[in-house]
């Protein structure tokens, strides 16, 4: 990467794997459980967080020297709330059905621990370009897990991907594809506990591939 120095590149690549906000830091779990029943909702959530965190980090970083430290949390909340409202209104205007599916969870991006965490831990102490890269890295790391979980939950739970039937037609009388052989959708996948288990399995695989991540007792 000629465009980015090695250090800058690490800001983006680290959160994708060995410092992933969901699987390693275990932040932002609530939304990962709540909206991953459909792949589409996962993608929209990932993009929304990318927008909010990428831009929010830059804004906080630009203001970092003038924010009084006593009220910094309030300032951060205002910045993130502003951005979230923009996302919410855009979704309502251009993807109304989807915004209904995501319902309160778009608003709850404000309380997403990843965002406040990055503001506090990174943007308050680094320049705008670095903060931007950090924001993008972390939100992509978050989004990747969301999309993986959403992919498996929608595929196994409803037999569709992005709403398109990929495993055949499950309607009795006109069975086709896998369903003709007696396959049935796994309703458990659509329930929230299964998202927790899928995230758990991802964490399990990640740690068994990279044993350095396992904590000492």
């Amino acid at each position: 990467m000629g465009l980015l120095s090695k250090k800058d590149a690490a800001l983006i690549t680290d959160p994708l794997a060995d410092n992933n906000p969901i699987t390693i830091q275990v932040l932002g779990i609530c939304s990962a459980l709540a909206i991953t029943a459909e792949l589409k909702a996962s993608i929209v959530m990932a993009v929304s967080v990318l927008f909010v965190l990428g831009l929010g980090n830059v804004v906080i970083s630009l203001m970092r020297n003038i924010i009084p430290s006593k009220i910094r949390i309030i300032v951060q909340l205002i910045v993130v709330a502003t951005l979230v409202i923009i996302v919410d209104l855009v979704l309502k205007a251009f993807a109304y059905e989807l915004s209904k599916t995501l319902s309160v969870f778009v608003g709850l991006i404000i309380t997403n621990c990843i965002i406040m965490g990055r503001f506090e831990a990174f943007a308050l102490g680094n320049g705008p370009w670095k903060s931007f890269l950090d924001g993008v890295g972390n939100s992509v790391g978050y989004g990747v897990i969301l999309i993986i979980v959403g992919f498996f939950r929608e595929l196994l739970g409803a037999g569709t991907l992005l709403g398109y039937p990929v495993l055949g037609n499950p309607i009795p009388g006109e069975l086709s594809g896998l369903y003709a052989y007696g396959y049935e959708n796994n309703g458990f996948m659509l329930l929230s506990p299964m998202a927790l288990i899928v995230v758990g399995i991802i964490i399990w695989i990640q740690r068994s591939r990279n044993t350095a991540l396992i904590e000492e007792n």
Binding site: G182, Y183, E184, N186, G187, F188, M189, I197, W204
Partner: protein
């Protein structure tokens, strides 16, 4: 050369390799190992893990055999209701047993086959001996599922239950939840149409739906939940000539199994007794509520609330859960006082779920899983209470 010698040679040959646990397992599964312990003092006891498991399996065999006959009996009785007039003559027939063989045996084979493959894989990955833990689970699973459960669903559920319910926590003895019930819960939430309703409990009822030969086999709990009368006598309910999961219908044979477990001190009589007491207590409370006219016939809870408390003990999976599931020494409470509390709450909550949520007429497995989670907490407070009591008794000043 005998089979034993052959297996021993195989074991020696693969010693120290990655596949060693798998060969060891086959050897120890069939025979006593050739090795003996060396040096030092050691305790000699007859009840090792393998023997304990075998006794539980023996206690389950009557339920399994009865379930095989019952599979056929419920099928033929659903087609020709007159068979129910003379149960004993029409129950132990070869035709009934044959249906048991073609429907129940595959469930047993899939349960054991898939479960043991998973155990073998994990033993090889972790590089230690195959654990016997699955022997009992593998027998419990086919007994607590409906007869028409598709085999592939059972296989998926077994993989899930063994991996997520047991292996991720560290294998036999480390699991928080009862693996057999984890498998049942997975099936219930993943494929609800195959786990409840009035079609799945009788062989072939699903296939005949919508045809002229349609048959139905509503369970007693299902009928009560819809405020319907049932055709079964109390003797039918106690002896188990009723539709239900494969091996849990016969309270009589479950009590026989309980006697074996209690006599050999494998199952805790405290848990079994307190579970029944808890269920009876909740049943009596509900009966009193109905007697006081708080709930009337128009209520959707009326049917099950009005069920006489002792009938609650015989129908559904309560007896099976109390005897074979709640007594699991790994997931249950360990202290004697804890066992009373643990069992009582299982019975109490089972009947509560049964009555208040007609969508889950079988609340037993949920109640046991819930109490599995609380068992360590109960034990903790029992132990702390004991420590406190002894401290006051000896009048020792601490700190």
């Amino acid at each position: 050369m005998s089979l034993k010698q052959n297996l021993h040679n195989l074991k020696e040959k693969y010693k120290g390799t990655k596949m060693a646990p798998a060969f060891n397992a086959i050897h120890t599964f069939l025979y006593l190992p050739n090795e003996v312990t060396h040096g030092g003092t050691h305790i000699k006891a007859a009840d090792d893990l393998k023997r304990t498991m075998n006794i539980v399996i023996m206690a389950l065999v009557p339920c399994l055999l009865f379930g095989m006959f019952n599979a056929g009996y419920q099928h033929y009785a659903a087609i020709d209701g007159s068979l129910r007039a003379n149960v004993l003559a029409n129950f132990f027939t070869f035709d009934n047993f044959w249906i048991g063989i073609i429907k129940v045996l595959p469930l047993v084979i899939v349960s054991y086959g898939v479960g043991l493959i998973v155990e073998f894989i994990f033993a090889v990955i972790k590089g230690h001996e195959v654990e016997e833990g699955y022997l009992v689970t593998g027998m419990l699973v086919p007994l607590i599922v409906p007869i028409d459960t598709p085999l592939w669903m059972l296989a998926v559920a077994v993989i899930f239950g063994v991996v997520i319910g047991k292996e991720v926590f560290g294998g036999t003895g480390m699991n928080i939840l009862n693996p057999a019930l984890t498998i049942r819960a997975f099936l219930f939430f993943a494929y609800p149409t195959w786990m409840s309703g009035d079609k799945v409990w009788v062989y072939d009822a699903v296939n005949r739906t919508g045809t002229a030969d349609a048959i139905s086999g509503e369970t007693i709990l299902g009928s009560y939940a819809q405020n319907q009368e049932v055709i079964y006598s109390n003797w039918d309910k106690f002896a188990g000539f009723i539709p239900g999961s494969v091996g849990e219908t016969s309270t009589l044979l479950i009590l026989l199994g309980a006697a074996i477990l209690v006599f050999t001190k494998i199952g805790s009589w405290r848990i079994i007794l307190s579970t029944f007491l808890g269920a009876a207590a909740m049943g009596i409370i509900f009966n009193q509520i109905v007697a006081a006219d708080i709930i009337t016939e128009s209520s959707k809870f009326y049917g099950l609330m009005n069920t006489v408390w002792w009938e609650h003990l015989m129908i559904g999976g309560l007896a099976f859960g109390a005897v074979f599931m709640a007594t699991d020494p790994v997931t249950g409470s360990q202290t004697n006082k804890g066992k009373w509390i643990y069992g009582f709450l299982i019975g109490f909550i089972s009947i509560m779920i049964r009555v208040f949520n007609p969508a889950y007429p079988e609340g037993v497995f949920l109640a046991i899983l819930l109490m599995n989670v609380f068992a360590p907490t109960i034990d903790h407070y029992v132990v702390q209470g004991n420590v406190k009591k002894r401290l006051t008794r000896t009048n020792v000043k601490t700190a």
